[in-house]
Amino acid sequence: MTSHDTTIDDAAWASPWRRRRVGEKVLLSVSLVLTALLTPPWPGCVLVACLSVFLILGPARIRASLLATVMIAPVTFLIIGALPVAIHLGGDGWGIGPVRINADGATTALGLIAHGIAGTLALMVLATTTPMVDVITWLRALRVPDPLLDIASLTYRLLFVLLSTTLAVRQAQVARLGDAASWRRRWHALASTIGSIILRSWQRATNLQRGLEGRGYEESLRTLSPRRARSWPFIGVSLASVAGVWATCWVLA
Protein backbone atom coordinates (compact mmCIF):
# COMPACT_ATOMS: atom_id res chain seq x y z
CA MET A 1 0.00 0.00 0.00
CA THR A 2 1.31 3.40 -0.85
CA SER A 3 0.04 6.58 0.63
CA HIS A 4 0.04 10.20 -0.26
CA ASP A 5 2.76 10.72 2.34
CA THR A 6 5.36 8.85 0.34
CA THR A 7 4.50 9.75 -3.23
CA ILE A 8 7.75 11.70 -3.68
CA ASP A 9 9.79 8.71 -2.59
CA ASP A 10 7.78 6.30 -4.74
CA ALA A 11 8.47 8.53 -7.73
CA ALA A 12 12.17 8.64 -6.84
CA TRP A 13 12.43 4.84 -6.86
CA ALA A 14 10.86 4.72 -10.31
CA SER A 15 12.81 7.65 -11.70
CA PRO A 16 15.14 7.12 -14.66
CA TRP A 17 17.69 9.19 -12.72
CA ARG A 18 17.60 6.72 -9.82
CA ARG A 19 20.81 5.12 -11.09
CA ARG A 20 22.75 8.37 -11.39
CA ARG A 21 25.35 9.04 -8.77
CA VAL A 22 23.84 10.67 -5.71
CA GLY A 23 26.75 13.10 -5.51
CA GLU A 24 26.01 14.39 -8.99
CA LYS A 25 22.33 14.90 -8.25
CA VAL A 26 23.17 16.61 -4.97
CA LEU A 27 25.57 18.89 -6.82
CA LEU A 28 22.90 19.87 -9.34
CA SER A 29 20.08 20.25 -6.82
CA VAL A 30 22.04 22.06 -4.12
CA SER A 31 23.64 24.48 -6.56
CA LEU A 32 20.16 25.27 -7.86
CA VAL A 33 18.88 25.69 -4.29
CA LEU A 34 21.72 28.09 -3.50
CA THR A 35 21.14 29.96 -6.73
CA ALA A 36 17.48 30.38 -5.83
CA LEU A 37 18.54 31.72 -2.47
CA LEU A 38 21.30 34.06 -3.62
CA THR A 39 20.07 35.51 -6.89
CA PRO A 40 17.29 38.11 -7.18
CA PRO A 41 13.70 36.89 -7.83
CA TRP A 42 13.96 38.16 -11.38
CA PRO A 43 15.52 36.63 -13.32
CA GLY A 44 17.34 34.24 -10.94
CA CYS A 45 14.46 32.55 -9.12
CA VAL A 46 12.27 32.43 -12.19
CA LEU A 47 15.04 30.76 -14.18
CA VAL A 48 15.79 28.28 -11.40
CA ALA A 49 12.10 27.44 -11.12
CA CYS A 50 11.74 26.94 -14.88
CA LEU A 51 14.91 24.89 -15.07
CA SER A 52 13.87 22.70 -12.12
CA VAL A 53 10.39 22.09 -13.52
CA PHE A 54 11.95 21.21 -16.87
CA LEU A 55 14.36 18.74 -15.23
CA ILE A 56 11.69 17.14 -13.06
CA LEU A 57 9.05 16.75 -15.76
CA GLY A 58 11.49 16.19 -18.63
CA PRO A 59 14.54 13.97 -18.13
CA ALA A 60 13.44 12.75 -14.68
CA ARG A 61 9.92 11.95 -16.02
CA ILE A 62 7.85 12.80 -12.98
CA ARG A 63 4.10 13.25 -13.49
CA ALA A 64 3.02 16.90 -13.48
CA SER A 65 0.07 16.09 -11.21
CA LEU A 66 2.46 14.59 -8.67
CA LEU A 67 4.64 17.68 -8.68
CA ALA A 68 1.55 19.83 -8.22
CA THR A 69 0.38 17.78 -5.21
CA VAL A 70 3.82 17.95 -3.69
CA MET A 71 3.96 21.73 -3.96
CA ILE A 72 0.70 22.36 -2.09
CA ALA A 73 2.23 22.25 1.40
CA PRO A 74 5.23 24.54 0.76
CA VAL A 75 3.13 27.02 -1.23
CA THR A 76 0.62 27.18 1.63
CA PHE A 77 3.43 28.00 4.04
CA LEU A 78 4.89 30.57 1.67
CA ILE A 79 1.60 32.41 1.34
CA ILE A 80 0.87 32.38 5.06
CA GLY A 81 4.47 33.26 5.89
CA ALA A 82 4.70 36.07 3.34
CA LEU A 83 1.50 37.72 4.50
CA PRO A 84 3.00 39.23 7.69
CA VAL A 85 5.93 40.45 5.58
CA ALA A 86 3.59 42.21 3.17
CA ILE A 87 1.73 44.09 5.86
CA HIS A 88 3.13 46.71 8.21
CA LEU A 89 2.00 47.88 11.58
CA GLY A 90 1.75 51.62 11.18
CA GLY A 91 3.57 53.70 8.59
CA ASP A 92 2.33 54.59 5.14
CA GLY A 93 0.32 52.64 2.63
CA TRP A 94 -3.17 51.41 2.17
CA GLY A 95 -5.07 49.60 4.91
CA ILE A 96 -7.27 49.52 7.98
CA GLY A 97 -6.15 51.02 11.26
CA PRO A 98 -2.48 50.34 11.95
CA VAL A 99 -2.41 47.39 9.54
CA ARG A 100 -0.94 48.76 6.30
CA ILE A 101 0.22 47.36 3.02
CA ASN A 102 2.42 49.24 0.57
CA ALA A 103 4.34 48.54 -2.59
CA ASP A 104 7.62 47.86 -0.77
CA GLY A 105 6.10 45.27 1.51
CA ALA A 106 4.22 43.61 -1.31
CA THR A 107 7.38 43.43 -3.42
CA THR A 108 9.37 41.88 -0.57
CA ALA A 109 6.63 39.33 0.03
CA LEU A 110 6.36 38.39 -3.63
CA GLY A 111 10.15 38.12 -3.80
CA LEU A 112 10.07 35.75 -0.81
CA ILE A 113 7.45 33.60 -2.46
CA ALA A 114 9.59 33.48 -5.60
CA HIS A 115 12.66 32.44 -3.60
CA GLY A 116 10.60 29.85 -1.76
CA ILE A 117 9.00 28.30 -4.82
CA ALA A 118 12.26 28.25 -6.78
CA GLY A 119 14.18 26.81 -3.81
CA THR A 120 11.60 24.12 -3.14
CA LEU A 121 11.45 23.14 -6.81
CA ALA A 122 15.24 22.98 -6.90
CA LEU A 123 15.20 20.70 -3.85
CA MET A 124 12.57 18.54 -5.54
CA VAL A 125 15.06 17.86 -8.35
CA LEU A 126 16.91 15.78 -5.77
CA ALA A 127 13.89 14.48 -3.87
CA THR A 128 11.96 13.18 -6.88
CA THR A 129 14.96 11.41 -8.39
CA THR A 130 16.75 10.05 -5.33
CA PRO A 131 15.20 7.81 -2.70
CA MET A 132 15.86 9.21 0.76
CA VAL A 133 17.91 6.17 1.64
CA ASP A 134 20.37 6.79 -1.21
CA VAL A 135 21.09 10.18 0.30
CA ILE A 136 21.79 8.50 3.64
CA THR A 137 24.12 5.99 2.01
CA TRP A 138 25.88 8.82 0.21
CA LEU A 139 26.48 10.58 3.55
CA ARG A 140 28.72 7.66 4.51
CA ALA A 141 31.24 9.05 2.06
CA LEU A 142 31.15 12.32 4.02
CA ARG A 143 32.39 10.51 7.13
CA VAL A 144 29.17 10.78 9.09
CA PRO A 145 29.57 8.16 11.85
CA ASP A 146 28.09 4.74 11.00
CA PRO A 147 25.74 4.38 13.98
CA LEU A 148 23.98 7.63 13.01
CA LEU A 149 23.50 6.50 9.44
CA ASP A 150 22.39 3.05 10.59
CA ILE A 151 19.71 4.69 12.70
CA ALA A 152 18.68 6.94 9.83
CA SER A 153 18.34 4.05 7.39
CA LEU A 154 16.48 1.89 9.91
CA THR A 155 14.18 4.84 10.48
CA TYR A 156 13.52 4.86 6.76
CA ARG A 157 12.64 1.16 6.69
CA LEU A 158 10.51 1.26 9.83
CA LEU A 159 8.56 4.32 8.83
CA PHE A 160 6.99 2.47 5.91
CA VAL A 161 6.05 -0.44 8.14
CA LEU A 162 4.55 1.88 10.75
CA LEU A 163 2.92 4.17 8.23
CA SER A 164 1.04 1.34 6.56
CA THR A 165 -0.18 0.05 9.94
CA THR A 166 -1.20 3.52 11.03
CA LEU A 167 -3.14 4.23 7.85
CA ALA A 168 -4.81 0.83 8.01
CA VAL A 169 -5.83 1.34 11.64
CA ARG A 170 -7.27 4.77 10.89
CA GLN A 171 -9.16 3.38 7.91
CA ALA A 172 -10.49 0.49 9.98
CA GLN A 173 -11.74 2.97 12.57
CA VAL A 174 -13.64 4.91 9.96
CA ALA A 175 -15.12 1.59 8.79
CA ARG A 176 -16.49 1.15 12.31
CA LEU A 177 -17.95 4.66 12.08
CA GLY A 178 -15.09 6.27 13.98
CA ASP A 179 -15.77 9.51 12.15
CA ALA A 180 -19.29 9.57 13.54
CA ALA A 181 -18.13 9.38 17.14
CA SER A 182 -18.45 12.26 19.57
CA TRP A 183 -15.58 14.71 19.81
CA ARG A 184 -14.55 13.29 23.15
CA ARG A 185 -14.54 9.69 21.95
CA ARG A 186 -12.56 10.58 18.86
CA TRP A 187 -9.82 12.06 20.99
CA HIS A 188 -9.78 8.93 23.15
CA ALA A 189 -9.60 6.76 20.04
CA LEU A 190 -6.74 8.88 18.70
CA ALA A 191 -4.77 8.53 21.93
CA SER A 192 -5.35 4.77 21.98
CA THR A 193 -4.26 4.53 18.37
CA ILE A 194 -1.07 6.45 19.00
CA GLY A 195 -0.45 4.39 22.11
CA SER A 196 -0.89 1.07 20.36
CA ILE A 197 1.28 2.19 17.45
CA ILE A 198 4.00 3.08 19.96
CA LEU A 199 3.72 -0.37 21.52
CA ARG A 200 3.88 -1.90 18.07
CA SER A 201 6.89 0.23 17.10
CA TRP A 202 8.65 -1.14 20.13
CA GLN A 203 7.66 -4.69 19.28
CA ARG A 204 8.80 -4.21 15.69
CA ALA A 205 12.16 -2.88 16.84
CA THR A 206 12.66 -5.81 19.23
CA ASN A 207 11.65 -8.38 16.61
CA LEU A 208 13.88 -6.81 13.98
CA GLN A 209 16.76 -6.81 16.44
CA ARG A 210 16.31 -10.56 16.92
CA GLY A 211 15.90 -11.15 13.20
CA LEU A 212 19.10 -9.26 12.45
CA GLU A 213 21.07 -10.94 15.22
CA GLY A 214 20.27 -14.24 13.54
CA ARG A 215 21.83 -12.89 10.38
CA GLY A 216 25.01 -11.95 12.18
CA TYR A 217 24.27 -8.40 13.33
CA GLU A 218 26.65 -7.34 16.04
CA GLU A 219 27.59 -3.72 15.64
CA SER A 220 27.39 -2.49 12.10
CA LEU A 221 24.68 -2.75 9.48
CA ARG A 222 27.02 -2.91 6.52
CA THR A 223 25.52 -3.79 3.15
CA LEU A 224 26.68 -3.71 -0.44
CA SER A 225 25.66 -0.79 -2.55
CA PRO A 226 26.17 -0.64 -6.27
CA ARG A 227 28.86 1.62 -7.62
CA ARG A 228 27.42 4.14 -10.04
CA ALA A 229 29.52 5.38 -12.90
CA ARG A 230 30.47 9.05 -12.86
CA SER A 231 28.95 11.02 -15.71
CA TRP A 232 31.05 13.97 -16.76
CA PRO A 233 28.42 15.12 -19.27
CA PHE A 234 25.84 15.26 -16.47
CA ILE A 235 28.18 17.24 -14.23
CA GLY A 236 29.14 19.49 -17.14
CA VAL A 237 25.56 20.24 -18.17
CA SER A 238 24.56 20.78 -14.52
CA LEU A 239 27.31 23.29 -13.89
CA ALA A 240 26.72 25.00 -17.24
CA SER A 241 22.99 25.42 -16.50
CA VAL A 242 23.64 26.93 -13.09
CA ALA A 243 26.36 29.15 -14.52
CA GLY A 244 23.91 30.20 -17.21
CA VAL A 245 21.44 31.39 -14.58
CA TRP A 246 24.13 33.40 -12.85
CA ALA A 247 25.35 34.88 -16.13
CA THR A 248 21.84 35.93 -17.07
CA CYS A 249 21.39 37.60 -13.69
CA TRP A 250 24.68 39.41 -14.08
CA VAL A 251 23.89 40.59 -17.61
CA LEU A 252 20.43 41.81 -16.70
CA ALA A 253 21.76 43.57 -13.61
Binding site: D5, L126, L154, L159, L190, A191, S192, A205
Partner: protein, 207 residues
Protein backbone atom coordinates in the same frame (compact mmCIF):
# COMPACT_ATOMS: atom_id res chain seq x y z
CA UNK B 1 4.67 24.31 9.82
CA UNK B 2 8.34 24.35 8.92
CA UNK B 3 10.06 27.30 7.31
CA UNK B 4 10.13 26.55 3.59
CA UNK B 5 13.20 26.33 1.39
CA UNK B 6 14.41 29.73 0.21
CA UNK B 7 12.48 31.71 2.81
CA UNK B 8 15.33 32.86 5.04
CA UNK B 9 18.17 35.17 3.97
CA UNK B 10 21.48 33.32 3.40
CA UNK B 11 23.30 34.80 6.41
CA UNK B 12 20.51 33.80 8.77
CA UNK B 13 20.43 30.29 7.35
CA UNK B 14 24.11 30.04 8.23
CA UNK B 15 23.60 31.52 11.70
CA UNK B 16 20.84 29.04 12.55
CA UNK B 17 22.96 26.17 11.28
CA UNK B 18 25.74 27.37 13.55
CA UNK B 19 23.35 27.72 16.48
CA UNK B 20 21.91 24.25 16.00
CA UNK B 21 25.14 22.42 15.27
CA UNK B 22 26.46 22.12 18.85
CA UNK B 23 23.14 20.69 20.07
CA UNK B 24 22.87 18.24 17.22
CA UNK B 25 26.49 17.13 17.59
CA UNK B 26 25.99 16.75 21.32
CA UNK B 27 22.87 14.71 20.60
CA UNK B 28 24.66 12.63 18.00
CA UNK B 29 27.33 11.78 20.55
CA UNK B 30 24.67 10.75 23.04
CA UNK B 31 23.11 8.55 20.35
CA UNK B 32 26.44 6.97 19.43
CA UNK B 33 27.07 6.24 23.11
CA UNK B 34 23.66 4.58 23.40
CA UNK B 35 24.28 2.54 20.27
CA UNK B 36 27.63 1.35 21.65
CA UNK B 37 25.98 0.45 24.94
CA UNK B 38 23.69 -2.02 23.16
CA UNK B 39 23.02 -2.58 19.46
CA UNK B 40 19.35 -2.92 20.37
CA UNK B 41 19.21 0.80 21.13
CA UNK B 42 19.79 1.57 17.46
CA UNK B 43 16.56 -0.15 16.56
CA UNK B 44 14.63 1.44 19.39
CA UNK B 45 15.86 4.91 18.43
CA UNK B 46 15.07 4.23 14.79
CA UNK B 47 11.57 3.12 15.80
CA UNK B 48 11.19 6.34 17.79
CA UNK B 49 12.35 8.37 14.78
CA UNK B 50 10.01 6.51 12.44
CA UNK B 51 7.17 7.02 14.87
CA UNK B 52 7.83 10.76 15.10
CA UNK B 53 7.64 10.92 11.33
CA UNK B 54 4.44 8.86 11.26
CA UNK B 55 2.83 11.30 13.71
CA UNK B 56 2.74 13.81 10.88
CA UNK B 57 0.36 11.46 9.06
CA UNK B 58 -2.06 11.45 12.01
CA UNK B 59 -4.53 14.26 11.70
CA UNK B 60 -6.04 15.73 14.83
CA UNK B 61 -9.83 15.63 14.88
CA UNK B 62 -11.98 18.76 15.14
CA UNK B 63 -9.30 21.40 15.51
CA UNK B 64 -8.79 24.46 13.39
CA UNK B 65 -6.84 23.88 10.23
CA UNK B 66 -7.09 20.78 8.11
CA UNK B 67 -3.48 19.68 8.32
CA UNK B 68 -2.82 19.97 12.02
CA UNK B 69 -0.99 17.03 13.54
CA UNK B 70 0.78 16.42 16.84
CA UNK B 71 4.53 17.18 16.98
CA UNK B 72 5.29 14.71 19.75
CA UNK B 73 8.55 16.42 20.64
CA UNK B 74 7.52 16.94 24.28
CA UNK B 75 6.87 13.23 24.79
CA UNK B 76 10.10 12.40 22.99
CA UNK B 77 12.04 14.74 25.28
CA UNK B 78 10.54 13.14 28.39
CA UNK B 79 11.26 9.63 27.14
CA UNK B 80 14.68 10.04 25.55
CA UNK B 81 15.98 13.37 26.83
CA UNK B 82 16.47 16.54 24.78
CA UNK B 83 19.91 15.65 23.36
CA UNK B 84 18.63 12.49 21.69
CA UNK B 85 15.60 14.39 20.45
CA UNK B 86 17.90 16.98 18.87
CA UNK B 87 19.40 14.24 16.73
CA UNK B 88 16.18 12.33 16.00
CA UNK B 89 14.40 15.60 15.25
CA UNK B 90 17.10 16.50 12.73
CA UNK B 91 16.66 13.18 10.94
CA UNK B 92 12.90 13.57 10.91
CA UNK B 93 13.16 17.14 9.56
CA UNK B 94 15.50 15.97 6.82
CA UNK B 95 13.03 13.21 5.96
CA UNK B 96 10.16 15.68 5.94
CA UNK B 97 12.07 18.04 3.66
CA UNK B 98 12.89 15.34 1.12
CA UNK B 99 9.87 13.05 1.43
CA UNK B 100 7.10 15.58 1.97
CA UNK B 101 8.59 18.89 0.77
CA UNK B 102 7.91 20.27 4.26
CA UNK B 103 10.74 22.61 5.18
CA UNK B 104 13.98 22.73 3.25
CA UNK B 105 17.73 22.25 3.22
CA UNK B 106 18.93 25.83 3.70
CA UNK B 107 16.28 26.38 6.37
CA UNK B 108 17.08 23.06 8.07
CA UNK B 109 19.24 24.79 10.68
CA UNK B 110 16.44 27.15 11.67
CA UNK B 111 13.81 24.40 11.70
CA UNK B 112 16.04 22.11 13.75
CA UNK B 113 16.54 24.90 16.23
CA UNK B 114 12.84 25.51 16.77
CA UNK B 115 11.50 21.99 16.48
CA UNK B 116 14.29 19.70 17.64
CA UNK B 117 16.06 21.90 20.19
CA UNK B 118 13.95 24.72 21.63
CA UNK B 119 10.67 22.77 21.79
CA UNK B 120 12.07 19.60 23.40
CA UNK B 121 14.23 21.55 25.87
CA UNK B 122 11.32 23.73 26.92
CA UNK B 123 9.03 20.72 27.31
CA UNK B 124 11.67 18.84 29.24
CA UNK B 125 12.35 21.82 31.50
CA UNK B 126 8.68 22.18 32.39
CA UNK B 127 8.40 18.44 32.98
CA UNK B 128 11.34 18.49 35.42
CA UNK B 129 9.99 21.57 37.13
CA UNK B 130 6.52 20.12 37.64
CA UNK B 131 7.89 16.78 38.78
CA UNK B 132 9.55 18.61 41.65
CA UNK B 133 6.16 19.76 42.90
CA UNK B 134 3.56 17.38 44.25
CA UNK B 135 1.45 17.71 41.13
CA UNK B 136 0.40 14.39 39.56
CA UNK B 137 2.38 13.06 36.61
CA UNK B 138 -0.35 13.81 34.08
CA UNK B 139 -0.08 17.53 34.82
CA UNK B 140 3.60 17.32 33.92
CA UNK B 141 2.80 15.44 30.73
CA UNK B 142 0.19 17.99 29.74
CA UNK B 143 2.47 20.99 30.19
CA UNK B 144 5.50 19.29 28.67
CA UNK B 145 3.57 18.45 25.49
CA UNK B 146 1.76 21.77 25.25
CA UNK B 147 4.80 23.90 26.01
CA UNK B 148 7.07 21.98 23.63
CA UNK B 149 4.52 22.51 20.87
CA UNK B 150 3.93 26.18 21.59
CA UNK B 151 7.58 27.10 22.12
CA UNK B 152 8.43 25.57 18.77
CA UNK B 153 6.07 27.98 17.03
CA UNK B 154 7.11 30.97 19.13
CA UNK B 155 10.73 30.35 18.17
CA UNK B 156 9.72 30.04 14.53
CA UNK B 157 8.02 33.44 14.86
CA UNK B 158 11.13 34.94 16.41
CA UNK B 159 13.24 33.53 13.61
CA UNK B 160 10.96 35.07 11.01
CA UNK B 161 10.75 38.39 12.87
CA UNK B 162 14.53 38.63 12.95
CA UNK B 163 14.62 37.92 9.24
CA UNK B 164 11.86 40.34 8.30
CA UNK B 165 11.65 43.25 10.77
CA UNK B 166 8.63 45.50 10.24
CA UNK B 167 9.45 48.58 8.18
CA UNK B 168 7.64 50.84 10.62
CA UNK B 169 7.73 49.07 13.97
CA UNK B 170 10.91 47.00 13.66
CA UNK B 171 11.50 43.64 15.31
CA UNK B 172 8.76 44.06 17.92
CA UNK B 173 6.13 44.77 15.30
CA UNK B 174 7.28 41.91 13.13
CA UNK B 175 7.20 39.55 16.12
CA UNK B 176 3.63 40.59 16.84
CA UNK B 177 2.65 39.83 13.27
CA UNK B 178 4.35 36.44 13.09
CA UNK B 179 3.18 35.42 16.55
CA UNK B 180 -0.36 36.28 15.49
CA UNK B 181 -0.08 34.10 12.42
CA UNK B 182 1.93 31.17 13.76
CA UNK B 183 1.75 31.07 17.54
CA UNK B 184 -1.68 32.40 18.52
CA UNK B 185 -3.39 30.04 16.09
CA UNK B 186 -1.21 27.33 17.58
CA UNK B 187 -2.51 27.79 21.13
CA UNK B 188 -5.54 25.51 20.71
CA UNK B 189 -3.30 22.97 18.99
CA UNK B 190 -0.79 23.14 21.82
CA UNK B 191 -3.58 22.57 24.33
CA UNK B 192 -4.84 19.73 22.14
CA UNK B 193 -1.42 18.16 22.10
CA UNK B 194 -1.24 18.44 25.87
CA UNK B 195 -4.62 16.74 26.20
CA UNK B 196 -3.49 14.05 23.80
CA UNK B 197 -0.41 13.52 25.97
CA UNK B 198 -2.60 13.06 29.03
CA UNK B 199 -4.88 10.60 27.21
CA UNK B 200 -1.82 8.73 25.99
CA UNK B 201 -0.47 8.63 29.51
CA UNK B 202 -3.82 7.13 30.53
CA UNK B 203 -3.56 4.53 27.79
CA UNK B 204 -0.18 3.37 29.01
CA UNK B 205 -1.35 3.05 32.58
CA UNK B 206 -4.07 0.70 31.37
CA UNK B 207 -1.99 -1.66 29.23
Amino acid sequence: MHIAEGFLPPIQCAVWFAASAPFVIHGARAVIAKAKESPENKLLLAAAGAFTFVLSAIKLPSVTGSSSHPTGTGAGAILFGPPVMAFLGTIVLLFQALLLAHGGLTTLGANVFSMAIAGPWAGYGIWKLIRRTSAPAWVGVFFAMAVADLVTYCVTSVQLAIAFPDAASGFAGALTKFLTVFAVTQIPLAVAEGVLGVLLFGFFTRV
